[in-house]
Structures are given as C-alpha cells and as structure tokens.
Amino acid sequence: MIRIKCPYCGERDHSEFTYGSDASIEYPNLESNAKDWTEAIFFRKNIYGKQIETWHHTNGCRLWLIIERCTITHKIFSIKPAHPEIHKLLKNQNNI
C-alpha cells in the first residue's frame, strides 16, 4: 500500500486518495482549438519511472496534491498542495 504524507492531514493510506492524472500536462485555454485540447487530453505518456501526478485527498481534507512518484517502485519524492496559495499557507504554518 502506498502511504501518502498529506501536507494537511499527515501520512495516510493511498485508499483515502483518488488518483487524478499526469500533473505535467498544461491544459490549454478554454478558447484554444480542438487540436491543442486533443494534444492535452488524449496524447499522454505512459511514464516508466518518476512521474509528476495529481492526487485528491477524497476521504480527507479534499486537497488536490502534486506528487512526484516513481511508477515502478511507488517511491514518493515530493508532495505539495496543487494550489500555490494553499501551499504557501501550509508552508508557513508547518515550517515545511
């Protein structure tokens, strides 16, 4: 079982979380055309190794997190809230 250290709640089982997707994707503007959107939502890499991804603490604080994880070993390298303001706030509070 992957254990994920939620910046708000602490270390929890991955069963509390929902996997989102590849966090390195930059979604186009809503005004962008279908080609750009197709690129973003259909053409994705199946990464072997370190991947940046989003996770949602669904059964917890409901923060969306950016996690760096190895897809082979499940080793987690870093975790931070996806929202920069929340990240700043928690950093100041926890001194992390």
Binding site: M1, L30, I41, A82, P84
Partner: protein, 992 residues
C-alpha cells in the same frame, strides 16, 4: 510407524487431557498439542488420500509446509477443509476427518487411480478435455461429457461447506517502528535489540507459542521468553501469519483468534485481518527442510528430520522405534543423537563420502550408526513404511546394497530459506551453490532478512544476525547505534552435497516432488519432452507448486530436475515468483465485517423513516435508498406507479428528491466559475433565479446536468444528479485547485445538509400555499418559472423554494435543513391530501420525465454529446467553456450520430424493454441503428413509450417503421419514431 508419548519429553501439558474426534472415533491428546502430534501419538498413520492417485498419506512435517496431513476440521456450516494438521492446535471437542477418500482414508476406492496413473500424468487435463492424443477417441460424445464430470469429481482435496459462513471476522490496524516476522532465535534477538533502542516493536508468530525452531530444543521455555519480551515493551502477536508484504512496509496479517476453540469465545471474531504499517521490517522467517525425490517417498512414515525433533522435544512424541535417516547435510546429526537418547534405534545414511571424525565419534558414542555414499532408493510398504532399500552410488547410478527394516524414515535434502515475503516485494532470490538454496537478494526497501531465512544455519549466528538486524533497523529509522555485523551465510562443518532426486531404475516410479498435487519427477521429464521448459510453464503444465503449500517442500527438487534436463544450472533456470498469501487465508477474513447489509455503505435520506411510515417500497439507486412507489391496498408496482403519475398530472404529488447532489458555491468569482463550467450562459443569471445547466467533460461529452440557483451576488446553490454528485464535486475542486487557481471561489458539498421534496401537479401551488408563511411569495408573479425564494414554512421552518419542473407540470422544489425534513414533509402531505394528492416514487418520476423527453443517467451515459440529447440549442456560442473546443470535433460532429428520440410501439397494446436494439426493417444485425434507453407505461398517452437513440434522429425516421430487436429476451416489435417531447410538447402545463 509405532510412535509413543514420552513422559519426560516435550513442552505440552501432559496433565491436561483433551478429547477429539478423528474419522468419527474419539481419541485423546494433551493441551499444547498440534492435531498432528495427537494423531501421531495415537499411532494414526494415514491422514488423507492424495490428489490424483488416492495414495495414502501421513504426516510429513511439523509446520506450515505440511503437504501430507491435510484434514477437514469441524462439520456442517463450520467445515474448514484443507487444514494442515501440523499447525492446527488441538482443543477439547475438535472434530477432524480425512480428505479425498471414499468410504474412508484407510480403505479408499479411489486408490484404483494409483494403478491407472499412466493416464494421469502431467497435462492430463489439457489433453483429455481438448481431445489430444492419447485421448482423441470419443471427443464431443455424450460419454465424454459424463466422463469429464467424473474425473473432475475424483480429483481434489477437502470439500467446503455450501452453507453460508457462520463465523464473524474483523479488520484491525496497527502501526509500529519495526515489524519482526518470525520468533525464532534471530527474530527474538532482533526484537530485543530494536526495543532496547527505544523502538516500537511488533513480533509476529504464526504458531501459538513463540520460539520457532527453538521449540525443538529441550531446554527452551517459550512462556518465560514471551514474558521477558513483553516486559521489554514488545508487542508479541502469536497465532498470527504475515501472509503478504506490500509497498511502504505494510504487511497483511491474519490472526487466528478463535481457531483453537470449538466455538468463538465472548463475541470475539474467528479471525482478525491486520494491516500493519511499519517503518522497517525484519524477516526472521526461518527455513524449511527439503525432501528428496525417490521411489515411494510418500508412504506414511516418511517425514523430515527436523519434524521428528519437533515431535520429540516439543510434543514429547517419539515418532518411531527403528529410524532410518537419509541426508546430504550436517543438520541431522544432533537430531539423530536426540532420537537415539530417547530410545529409538537410529541409523544414518549419508550420501557424502566422508564427514569430520569428531561428529562420527559423537554419533558412535550415542549408538547412532552412520554409513556413507548411500542414499534411499525405494520404500517398501503400502499403508506404512516397512523397510527401505538403500543404494550405493556407483558412477551416476545407484546399486541396491541393503534393505533396512524400519518404521520411520527421516529425510533431509537440505534447507530452503523462507523468502516468500521478500518475493512479494518483487525481489528475485539468488541461487547459492555452496548452500544449495535460494538466498534473498538485497532489497532497496527498508527490509532486512535475518537468521536462517538469510541462509545462516547455526543458532549462535542466527542470534547474531538478529542483533545486527535490530541495530540496522534502528540506524535506518534514525537512531544512532553501535556498528553492526552480519555473520556469514552457511555454518555447517561439512559441505552439503547436491542430492535432489535418486533416479529409479524402474520404468514406472513414484518419486514425488509435490505431494499435494501428486507431481512426480517423471511429470517434470514429460513436461520437458513436451516443451514446457520455462519454470513458469513447468509450474502451470504440471501444477508443481500450485497446491495450498505453494511448493514449500518440493519446488526446488522440480527446478533441479529441469535444470538437469536442460543441462543448465539452477541459477539459470530460476524460480517462480511467490505471491501472497504465504499460507491459505479464509475469504471471510478478507471480507471482514463488509458482508450482507454491511457489504457497502447504506445512504438514507432524512425522510427515510417518514417514507417507510407512509408505506414506501424502497429501491437502491447507487448507495441511496429511495422511495420506489407507495402501494395502496396491496397494489403491485405497475398499478401503483401508473396511479401515482396520473395523480401528479391530475392534482398534485410529493416526491423525496433529497438524494440529488447539492453544492454551495461561494465567492466573488462564482459567476465566472459557473460560466466556465456550464455549457450554457450563466453570466447574467439574476439573483433569485435558477437555471438548468449542462456540464461537459474536457473531451466534449456530457458529464452531468442539474440546476444552479443564484442566492445572492456571490453565492450559488448547485444541484447535481444523484449518481454524479461525488464526481461533480471532485471535478469542481480539481478545476479550482489545479487549473483556475486565481478564481476566488469556494465549493462545499451540502448534500447531507439539505432535504428536498418535489411538489408537482396542477394543484402544487395550492398545496404549497397552505404551507408557507406568506403565500404571496409563491404567486405566479412573485415566483415565475425558474424563480426562487428563501422563506419560512408556516411553522417557522426555514426553506428555499424554486419553481423547477422535471415532470412537465407546474412544480416546485422545496429544500429545508435536514433536521426539519420530517416536519416539512408532514406539513406538505397534510396539505396535499386536501387536494386529493399523492406520494410518488422513483418509478412514477421516471414515467413523468420519459413522457416529457427529459434525460437522466440512462441517457447521459458518458457517450453522448449535448447535440445527441437534443439540448444543443442551450449551449452558448458566445463563450468558451469546458468541452466547448472538443464537442464538435471529428466523430462528434458526425451527421449520422445516434440522437435522442421518443419511441412508440406501432401496435399500441404492445410493450418493450430498455436495452432493445433498434434496427431497420428486415435488417436485424450487429449494433443496429439505435438503442432504447428508458421505457415506461405512459398514463398521459395510454400506451407504452420509450426514449432512445437512433442514427440521424427524429427527422430522419419520423415516417418509417423500424424494428426493436431484443435477442436476449427473444422479442421483436415494430416501432414508431417520434419526437422525444411526447407529452404536452408545447410545455403549456408547466405554467399551470
């Protein structure tokens, strides 16, 4: 075998006598016995019959690796098949019986298979069931079918009860710094060392007492040791098997809480499933003694050497009087002396040419004879060992030189470290040529292997490796300790000699490798001849290592024979991957309390009790219990929903719609946010107005629909469909936190906070007028279609009312805080009754919306676009929103897409079903040209109607008869395609 109990031996309590039943006869044993020990002491040789050949089998070991003494414990619903008698604790009243035998294990008619064994070789099932040679005769005939059933019945092990499991199980969780698996010498040493370094330690042991192999020493006191460990602050969990290792040092364990009682005590569960989360794991899982393959090596009375030592020093049972020991290594000498001292006549045959003089002297002074260069060839005897043929090695062959009379044959073919748990982590073991075993490789995870599991054979070195492991764990967790050193692997005075199989000179031999599945060395050769040479193929073709012992005793012999045939090293052949569980676990334990009503969570609305009190029949929609219909005078569903829907059209009806998802959207950018999320315009929605909205996904398909109400400048109240409530909430959070981080919006799920009732029908305003403080507020002028108001019911209950209609009638949705739901419903119902109103459930709700062509989850199934459901006109073309770029891409813009239509039967008296495929007349094939998603009887129209999708839509098919084909239910019916707005197409009723 003539075993006897010795008074001065063993650690069982010989003053506490327990009675038990074996094969319907009563026997006695002692407290602390395993069932196998008691059976042995009672001289019961035949415990079961083998899988294919029905050969008699006895006790072959003293632990979890047992593959002979598998028994069924309990009876009726408490039946537990395939239990290893060697690890089943004896208790008062235990009922056990043998397996795979008729009429009984002593006399089994199935033994005839032993003489037909030529036919039952490896691959037998594949060949017979596929009609391959030599079984090509009669393929496809009736005899074949019967014969197949008979074979399936003849093979096998214990039979499970077909009754529901009466036992209770539970799940539990625990955390620790260091988890130590196995309480042998290295495990105990590691636990003490880790605890001394202030670590939180759990020590688990599958047996009911701690000690592991220490239990086979006469001077080991397990109770004293356990007390000592607990005093040191160590949590000692006995009767607990760590069956699997997972990521991040998480272990799955089963604690057998009550398997040593006749019935569970004090409402405790039978077994407990533990999830342990640790920082470091020490595997002190020990090692298992191997057999050697030779002819008839499965006759009752053959066991491992170390097993005999356990029976002697742990249980006080001397397993035989005339004992022959066959070995290729040093581990047997201490045991042979112990057995000799206990009164047995012991003779050792060692395949090696010589060993050190000291050992020989020691053996001789203890009356143990030893001969070298000799190996077992064949066992004589049918139901028990009578004598053994011994051969001398001449070149590569063996020549029979003597026949020794005996009642017990002990074998040691070397030791295999228990590396299963490490294998669960994907770590491949390495073959060690010196010690002839697979040794654990280094793991990148914080897992340390200690003791004989790491290939360390002598006791002192095992303890030293335990201490080193404890220190290593402490160090890695971040506690500074002294330096530590792991002792070298091995530790025998004389090197082990490779002896896996003694090939028989006979054409047909029975030298078993996997006793549980009756896999012989000849089967390995057959697999090789037929090309199944990779270990993974070998396993599946011969079933080697696939029984419930998972090859603990025999796998390596099989691998060595294959290596030999391929003229390769064992290291090149490799080994199969071990997967959890290490030993069999009950499915009940995995399920825990999540059975029956607790199988999944139950969601009820705050009106649940009210609905039941008023006669509702409930239906599950997702996790929610919703009113299905409210039968009057024993009405059936069909009558009830038609009456309810008619009443709504005629007067008024009330329906609990609390299960809809509700989300509070607050913040200065709420309007911008909704305008981006919904496909239709939200930028100019006035305060106190609601709007129906459709959300798309990134890929342009419809995600969900619902209404959003503007409560104030910066606050909205969104409703979603019941099914997608959680998904929409997650989606909004994702957008705000990961994509549109500068929007000042906060979303909160308030689904549980608000109760909701729909009031629909021409009399709905009259009904509601009697209930609200100020009826003026809900007049047509003050509350027009899609208007909303926040007010109070006339008993002071705060509420939100919106004029929203799903049924096509004049209708309102009224929301109160959940605590007031019951009260609200009482007031509304009292009033509705005055207008001859009704309560209606989900079935009538469905009928009403289908008549209107309103879509729900049945239509919005994740495959449709907004155009497909004929709502394209609602989508704004003046703004960009989620999905706007993608909704008209390629295939989604196809003119020929299936679009929403209404469906009538051509013959109005006919019915049809959802799931029916729509085809062109006389062209019933493939996917057809459309499908039917929802059907109902329409009280408004007086016949069955449906909603569905058809290529090209209504305009294409409006005057053509098509066919509804339902091949599953064998129905075909002519259909008429109509506009989806089947009832009141102009929507006049909406305005009352």
């Amino acid at each position: 075998m003539t075993a006897k109990r010795l008074k001065d031996y063993g650690k069982v309590n010989q003053d506490k006598i327990l009675s038990f039943t074996w094969e319907n006869k009563k026997y006695f044993g002692y407290k602390g016995d395993s069932l196998a020990a008691s059976l042995l002491a009672n001289n019961i040789n035949i415990i079961g019959r083998s899988f294919k050949y029905h050969r008699p089998r006895g006790i072959m070991s003293a632990g979890v690796e047992e593959s002979g003494a598998l028994v069924t414990i309990g009876k009726n619903e408490y039946t537990d098949p395939n239990v290893r008698a060697t690890s089943q604790e004896l208790y008062e009243g235990l009922i056990a019986s043998g397996q795979n035998a008729f009429p009984n294990v002593n006399f089994d008619l199935g033994y005839i298979n032993n003489y037909l064994s030529r036919f039952f070789a490896a691959g037998f099932y594949y060949k017979t069931f596929m009609g391959l040679p030599p079984f090509e005769w009669g393929k496809g005939t009736k005899i074949w079918m019967i014969y197949e059933k008979l074979i399936r019945k003849a093979a096998g092990m214990g039979k499970a009860s077909k009754m529901p499991d009466p036992d209770k199980y539970e799940h539990a969780n625990e955390f620790c710094d260091v988890l130590i698996i196995g309480s042998g010498p290295s495990g105990i040493a590691a636990a003490v060392e880790a605890a001394n370094n202030n670590l939180d330690v759990i020590l688990v042991e599958q047996d009911h007492v701690i000690g592991g192999n220490l239990l086979s020493n006469s001077n080991f006191d397990f109770e004293e040791k356990k007390y000592f460990l607990q005093k040191a602050g160590i949590k000692v969990m006995t009767r607990t098997t760590a069956f699997g290792l997972y990521d991040n040092c998480v272990a799955g364990m089963i604690e057998r809480v009550n398997d040593h009682f006749f019935l569970p005590k004090n409402n405790t569960p039978r077994q407990r499933f533990w999830t342990i989360r640790s920082k470091h794991i020490i595997l002190s899982t020990g090692s298992l003694e191997r057999h050697i393959a030779f002819n008839n090596n499965d006759i009752p009375g053959v066991m491992t050497v170390n097993a005999a030592r356990h029976y002697l020093n742990r249980y006080g049972v001397l397993a035989g009087e005339k004992i022959i020991i066959c070995t290729n290594n040093d581990s047997v000498f201490e045991t042979s002396i112990l057995l000799s001292k206990a009164g047995a006549k012991v003779k050792v045959f060692d395949i090696r040419e010589k060993i050190d003089e000291n050992t020989i002297k020691k053996l001789n002074t203890n009356n143990v004879e030893i001969e070298f260069n000799k190996a077992p060839l064949n066992i004589q005897g049918n139901k028990k060992v009578e004598s053994i043929d011994i051969g001398i090695k001449v070149g590569n062959k063996y020549k029979k030189v003597n026949e020794e009379e005996c009642d017990l044959v002990l074998i040691s073919g070397g030791w295999s470290p228990v590396i299963h748990l490490l294998s669960h982590r994907g770590i491949k073991p390495k073959w060690d040529k010196e010690n002839l075993c697979f040794l654990p490789s280094q793991s990148s995870e914080p897992i340390t292997v200690a003791g004989s599991a790491a290939g360390i054979w002598n006791n002192d070195d095992c303890e030293a490796s335990g201490i080193a492991s404890g220190l290593k764990a402490a160090n890695e967790i971040g506690i500074k300790t002294s330096d530590y050193f792991f002792p070298k692997q091995g530790g025998w005075k004389n090197p082990i000699f490779p002896l896996f199989e003694i090939k028989s000179n006979r054409s047909r031999s029975k030298s078993f490798i996997d006793f549980q599945h009756d896999v012989t060395s000849d089967d390995i050769r057959l697999a090789h001849r037929e090309g199944f040479v990779s270990v993974e193929h070998l396993k599946r073709y011969t079933t080697l290592g696939m029984a419930n012992d998972q090859g603990k005793m025999g796998n390596i012999i099989g691998l060595s024979i294959m290596a030999d045939l391929l003229q390769k090293e064992i290291s090149e052949v490799g080994t199969t991957v071990f997967r959890p569980p290490y030993t069999p676990i009950s499915i009940g334990a995995l399920a825990g309390r999540n059975v029956n009503k607790h199988f999944r969570p139950l969601r009820v609305t705050p009106l649940h009790d009210w609905n039941l009190e008023n006669g509702a029949k409930m239906i599950e929609t997702g996790l929610y219990q919703r009113p299905w219909y409210y039968p009057k005078n024993n009405e059936k569903l069909a009558d009830a929903y038609i009456r309810e829907a008619s009443s709504v059209r005629k007067t008024v009806g009330l329906c609990d719609v609390t299960s809809l998802g509700k989300i509070s959207i607050q913040g200065p950018d709420s309007t911008i946010f909704l305008n981006k999320v919904y496909s239709n315009a939200f930028a100019k929605l006035p305060i106190n107005k609601a709007r129906y909205g459709i959300m798309l996904r990134d890929d342009g398909l419809v995600m969900d629909d619902g209404t959003s109400w503007r409560l104030s400048e910066n606050e909205y109240f969104m409703t979603t469909s019941t099914a997608h409530a959680a998904k929409v909430m997650l989606w909004l959070e994702e957008l705000l936190q990961t994509r549109w981080q500068n929007l000042k919006v906060h979303v909160t799920s308030v689904s549980e906070e608000w109760a909701a009732v729909s009031i629909a029908g021409p009399k709905s305003r009259d009904t509601l007028s009697l209930c609200v403080e100020d009826p003026n507020l809900i007049s047509n002028d003050n509350l027009p279609f899609m208007g909303l108001t926040q007010t109070k019911l006339n008993n002071g209950i705060p509420c939100r009312i919106a004029r929203i209609s799903f049924s096509g009638e004049l209708a309102f949705e009224i929301y109160t805080p959940s605590d007031f739901a019951y009260n609200m419903m009482n007031i509304l119902w009292e009033s509705a009754k005055k207008f001859d109103g009704c309560l209606y459930g989900l079935e009538a709700l469905g009928a009403l919306r289908i008549e209107k062509g309103h879509v729900t989850g049945a239509e919005l199934d994740g495959r449709v676009t907004i155009e497909d459901v004929e709502l394209g006109k609602m989508a704004s073309d003046k703004k960009s929103y989620i999905g706007s770029a993608m909704q008209k891409r390629g295939v989604l813009a196809d003119k020929d897409r299936e679009t929403l239509v209404g469906i009538f039967p051509r013959n109005k008296s006919q019915t049809f079903d959802a799931g029916t495929i729509i085809c062109k007349k006389n062209e019933i094939k493939g996917y057809g040209i459309g499908r039917i998603t929802s059907v109902t009887y329409s009280p408004g129209l007086g016949h069955w109607i449906g909603l569905g999708f058809i290529k090209g839509g209504y305009t294409e098919w409006k005057n053509t008869i098509v066919v509804g084909a339902d091949p599953v239910r064998n129905k075909e019916i002519d259909l008429e395609i109509v506009s989806p707005h089947m009832f009141d197409p102009k929507g006049e009723r909406l305005h009352g």
